[in-house]
Symmetry: C2
DNA sequence: GTAGGTATACCGTACAGTGAGTGTACAAAG
DNA sequence: CTTTGTACACTCACTGTACGGTATACCTAC
């Protein structure tokens, strides 16, 4: 009996989300996703043209929540601008404590698909990171940071570095250091009034 | 006719290096490696216990050359310490220009194996990154940088970020920005005489 | 020095499992 | 009665790993 369409589709995406993130793209089969979603592989292929399609969808679902998490950490923080930037890294450090944390899904997906630069997932991942960067640039510009785009870019670079280093070393101090560096850069740009 | 043993082994590693780096771990089969090395799969299994073994060896071969490249860029650079640190990023930016560049092999491998923290490749990757970090810390300490370990850590974080961002956006400006940030941090630590 | 044995290095083949993707049938909804 | 959504059963190529066999190199006893 056909369920309400969109519901099945969402169930599949949720299953894909879990498995792709936990085990990686290549290591996750559509069989496994279908089983976890409680549907047949044929149904998966009804809702998605191909595995590549599903990969892109998987990343797309992570875009908004990720960005909102960053924004929440920043907005809820008190203190000077560098301190509030550091709060983003503190927030990241917390999520990393989760047993199921496996690095940045965007980074890992792009890493696996490195040989397929035209893959749809690439665009989704790149767009997500640029959204984060733009948001930061906007916040910095609002607060009179000179060269806000440059500083935002540098902060996102530290975020990327923190994700990568954390996955590699499983040592939370790397996030702390990244937060320190970001705070340093933002603070320096504010006091210097010119990069 | 048995060849000189070590030579065959090296041939296999070279083939694995190329394919693992280009296509990723999961996407590269032992068949493909054996074929490229001009041997049979049986021979691969004679020299390596398993694919996981070969993965670790693949990363191990990238350790020394990578470190030496960083050192060369730093040593050959002229100018102030921040400028010489920036030279490392300039060096990275150049390699990225290569058509075959596919990000940091360590980062991508660890990303694929994120669900297997006990994998031997993890140790190799982590050790490599720590070697780079230690070397930087040593250079900084020699030049009177306060908290050299902290600054070295932050610079390596920017390196990681540069690799990740470059792979995602294919835009060399990210490396430049990372270099700017690193130079800023090093310069700031030198002038401030305390982080 | 040479017969016979042992270790080394390599190949061909087999196998059991899994991967993405498809053809077709069938039930519900409109 | 046509469209939509789901299931079952299937193909076919590929993948990691194991087994058995073979040719050369090396070593030791006589």
């Amino acid at each position: 009996m056909p369920r309400s369409g969109a519901k099945t589709r969402d169930t599949i995406i949720v299953a894909a989300n879990t498995l792709f993130y936990r085990f990686g793209i290549k290591a996750t089969s559509l069989d496994a996703i279908a089983e976890r979603a409680g549907v047949t592989k044929r149904t998966v292929y009804y809702h998605f043209r191909s595995k590549d399609d599903l990969i892109a969808e998987y990343l797309a679902t992570r875009d908004q929540p990720n960005l909102e998490a960053f924004q929440a950490w920043f907005e809820q923080a008190r203190g000077t601008l560098p301190e509030r930037v550091r709060a983003i890294f503190d927030g990241v450090a917390e999520t990393i404590g989760h047993a199921r944390w496996r690095g940045c899904g965007f980074q890992r997906t792009v890493g696996e698909l490195a040989n397929k630069p035209g893959h749809p997932a690439f665009k989704v991942a790149s767009a997500h990171k640029k959204r984060v960067e733009s948001w930061l640039a906007y916040e910095f510009q609002q607060r009179g940071v000179p060269h806000p785009e440059d500083i935002a870019c540098q902060v996102t670079l530290l975020l990327e570095g923190a994700f990568a280093a954390m996955l590699m070393h499983r040592d939370r101090r790397y996030v702390t250091q990244a937060g320190n560096a970001a705070a340093c850069i933002v603070g320096h740009s504010l006091s210097g009034r010119s990069r």
